[in-house]
């Protein structure tokens, strides 16, 4: 039996250039990279040197503060380069794929496996990195089990990948992942699907099924957690992306770490935006070639969706977690008298000071800021895109002033920066809400832990 949940506020942006449900096996990437910045709160300590040979599943670095949090190699090969930036910060660990060896673990019979053994295998194989812990969205710590686990198939961000399509042929692995995780915490995991879709997910075992009715950001786990099993001070909840759970399930079948990544490559400028089957850390050039995009000049590549992804160069690599790669035109042009209301209606706007909302259809976007940053003047605007019993503007102000007590009592534990994606988008004063909240969470992590 499923429960229906309706999340009212928010908006879908409906951007032009969404990947069509058509899967292509991506070209084999020559090099693969791991970027420590993909793992919020992790301080990397390298376990390999340049030139070392590594196998698939071999740890590359672990967290300085917790050695059981390790990131393993997605391929077999050798360490080509450890790219460092200012203050020797590690920017990328680049691995050149060679040969085909992998680290194998012996998987005991799953019907009699103990919780400790499951945890040990998750830690040793590096699969733990697929699990993220709330509060703070850091990699799960193995010393404490969560009160519940959330997996959201319901995805609402612009250009977000359709997990139903991605997992169509991986339902066995997904079910196995569900079984293992629910065994670990001793109760079913919370799985949310879209309200109106009768999918394969509704017949799974060991899940508590929720049907979510709502537009973006109702697909973000934070808003679902808030309604289903709110996170309180001192509690822990785990969140796993659907494909990552299938990868965990696959590991508990084969005993080999599974770095598979199916990616929706979207963008209005692409010739045929579609899904690609590839591996974590592949180069972006292995997905978007000159046939897809005639010139890379004036385009921005984003690991993730346009609201909360991170900017990368064409020569960079895929992130660890994203199932979406977005390509968007840079908006470095002037717009004469562009601030006039009701005039430039082709620029997407959720505000009624433009007729954009009346026009309907799919919207073209670029990266222009469409104005300048100002002090917060307009009120009641953020609440429209933040369907949770939290005051977003007051929380943002608490983060700006670094007032820990206020941040805590206003609900910082229940949010992650990406929940403020639409707030960022719609803000009249062009406030960098996600950045502010991220800094706030970093402060909490440092001071409260």
């Amino acid at each position: 039996m499923s429960k229906d949940i309706s999340i009212k506020a928010g908006a879908n942006l409906n951007l032009k250039g969404l990947a069509s449900t058509e899967l292509e096996v991506a070209k084999m990437s020559l090099d693969y990279a791991l970027n420590p910045d993909d793992f919020f709160g992790l301080i990397p300590r390298m376990l390999v040197k340049e030139g070392d040979k590594v196998s698939l599943g071999q740890p590359i670095f672990h967290d300085k503060n917790n050695e059981s949090i390790k990131i393993v190699s997605p391929v077999n090969g050798k360490i080509l380069e450890i790219v460092r930036g200012a203050k020797r910060k590690i920017l990328n660990v680049i691995i050149r794929k060679e040969g085909d060896t992998s680290i194998n673990y012996k998987i005991p019979n799953l019907s009699s496996i103990s919780k400790d053994k499951i945890m040990e295998l998750l830690v040793e194989s590096g699969s733990l990195a697929y699990i993220r812990q709330r509060p703070y969205n850091i990699i799960a710590k193995p010393d404490r089990l969560p009160k519940s686990i959330f997996v959201s198939i319901h995805s609402t961000a612009p250009y977000a990948a359709d997990y139903g399509f991605i997992l169509k042929n991986r339902m066995d692995e997904f079910q196995n992942g569900v079984n293992v995780m629910s065994k670990l915490i001793g109760k079913p995991i919370n799985l949310s699907i879209s309200y109106n879709c009768e999918s394969d997910f509704s017949i799974l075992n060991n899940v508590e099924l929720y049907k979510i009715k709502g537009v973006h950001p109702s697909g973000n786990e934070s808003f679902q957690i808030n309604r289903i099993d709110p996170l309180n001070s001192g509690e822990i909840i785990w969140v796993i992306k659907p494909e990552d759970l299938a990868n965990i399930g696959s590991f508990f079948i084969t005993g080999i770490f599974n770095p598979r990544r199916t990616l929706a490559v979207s963008g209005e400028c692409l010739r045929s935006p579609k899904y690609y089957d590839t591996i974590i850390g592949s180069s972006i050039s292995s997905l978007v070639d000159s046939k897809e995009l005639s010139s890379i000049e004036d385009y921005r590549f984003i690991n993730g969706d346009p609201l909360s992804g991170s900017k990368v160069e064409y020569s960079d690599f895929l992130g660890y977690y994203n199932n979406t790669l977005s390509v968007i035109k840079e908006g470095n042009q002037y717009r004469m008298l562009g601030w006039l209301p009701f005039i430039y209606n082709s620029v997407p706007s959720l505000s009624k000071t433009s007729l954009s909302w009346l026009l309907g259809g799919q919207k073209k976007v670029n990266t222009n800021l469409n104005g300048e940053e100002r002090a917060i003047v307009v009120t009641g605007e953020m609440e429209k895109y933040f369907p949770m019993d939290i005051f977003p503007m007051q929380l943002i102000k608490a983060c700006m002033t670094g007032d820990i007590e206020k941040m805590e009592s206003l609900g910082i534990y229940e949010v992650v920066p990406e929940d403020f994606g639409l707030v960022d988008f719609s803000c009249t004063s062009k406030i960098e809400a996600q950045e502010i909240v991220k800094n706030g969470i970093e402060l909490m992590l440092k001071e409260v832990g």
């Binding site: 004469m336 008298l337 601030w339 006039l340 209301p341 104005g371 002090a375 003047v377």
Partner: protein, 385 residues
């Protein structure tokens, strides 16, 4: 467009880093961004942004003010000609009004923006758009015959004390336009009340009696105007506050575009109506028995509740808070009108009073949310122990 852009780029050179006029960059920037939305792209956070910005929001308010302003011009001429018994046409009335009002607008903008620009250059931040609205609001709520120097001093006081002293746009506690009005009211009381200031040239021409309705009521007089003329606005009063009809057109635009809070407007009307009805039932004097619906039509109530009370910076910021805040503005407006005939118009003082209390209202609304969350935490702790 390219041609203009090139000209602007040439002009910009001395203002950019290392240029001779580098320190004046914020001033140049204000003009440049008026002409062109800049080519800045997103660097942090969301990669795509809404087309709306503060300029667009403020310009929408100005558009909403235009009907009331235009009627104010006409009414200024109309009141003048009707009382002096001179034959006039519609055009004459508008021209007379424009002749009186444009200098006020020019002075308000010139003085206010000069201060804003000076502060922007001094603090090295971009010029905020807030004054575009404030600068138009101030002349609209002043008596028509106000000397320009008085207007200028009111503007200086409002911008310096009510706004910049608190940190500029977005940080002020009181609505700057109303602060200017309150300053003029208390600094030049003989000028800002009585029956000689509300009609153009009233102090120079003997025949004119320009008493406002609220003034008449406060003096226990008989009101000579019908509800219809109060609604349409052909009555003496501040420049652009008299016509409820034209204010409502502006209100409609603010509500449709979401720029003004309909919650504050609606709850304000409810608050004033409730108190008005109660006073009607009591009916101890002519102010109390003045019909409650006429209270909504006379004076600056409509203008105040639509354009002043909804100022997002000085109003309550939470949704629940907005309901309470608007309601209390309405309540206090009628209370002040009825109980304190020394201040025949209550809406200005009611809004300023509630501006001061808005943060307190928000505080309690937010506290409810916080204590709900803390209770949830406590309940969980009790369960687990």
């Amino acid at each position: 467009m390219d041609f203009i852009r090139k000209q602007v780029d040439t002009l910009k050179k001395p203002f950019t880093k290392g240029g001779k006029l580098e320190r004046l960059y914020p001033a140049f920037n204000a003009f440049e961004t008026m002409l062109f939305v800049p080519n800045h792209t997103t660097s942090k956070g969301s990669h795509i942004r809404d087309g709306v910005d503060l300029k667009r929001t403020m310009i929408t308010v100005i558009i909403a003010l235009v009907p009331a302003l235009f009627y104010g011009m006409y009414n200024t001429g109309y009141q003048y000609y009707i009382q002096t018994d001179i034959q006039f046409t519609f055009i004459d009335a508008v021209l007379h009004g424009a002749y009186k009002i444009f200098p006020m607008i020019a002075v308000s903008y010139a003085v206010g923006l000069a201060i804003e620009f000076a502060f922007a250059v001094y603090r090295n931040h971009p010029v905020n758009e807030g004054y575009l609205v404030t600068g138009l609001l101030i002349p609209m709520i002043m008596p028509i015959d106000m000397p320009l120097w008085m207007l200028a001093i009111s503007v200086i006081f409002a911008v310096l004390i009510a706004k910049e002293a608190f940190g500029g746009t977005g940080m002020n506690i009181l609505n700057p336009a109303l602060t200017a009005r309150a300053f003029a009211f208390f600094a030049y009381p003989t000028f800002m009340s009585g029956d000689k200031v509300w009609v153009s040239e009233a102090s120079n021409v003997d025949g004119i009696s320009g008493e406002t309705i609220l003034g008449t009521l406060a003096a226990n007089g008989e009101v000579a105007y019908s509800s219809a003329s109060m609604f349409m606005g052909s009555i003496p009063g501040s420049v652009a506050e008299t016509s409820v009809f034209f204010v409502l057109i502006g209100a409609l635009l603010l509500i449709i575009t979401g720029v003004g809070s309909w919650r504050i407007m609606l709850s304000g009307v409810i608050g004033a109506s409730v108190v008005g009805i109660l006073f009607n039932l009591w009916g101890a004097n002519s102010l109390m028995s003045f019909e409650w619906y006429n209270h909504l039509l006379v004076g600056g109530f409509a203008f105040g509740i639509v354009f002043m009370a909804t100022d997002p910076v000085s109003a309550a910021q939470t949704t629940k808070g907005k309901w309470i805040y608007g309601f209390l503005v309405g309540v206090f407006c009628i209370l002040i009108r009825v109980f304190n005939p020394a201040y025949p118009e209550g809406v200005m003082l009611a809004i300023l009073l509630m501006n001061v209390f808005a943060p307190l209202i928000d505080h309690y609304v937010i506290e409810t949310n916080v204590s709900m969350r803390r209770k949830r935490w406590r309940d969980v702790k009790l369960e687990t122990t």
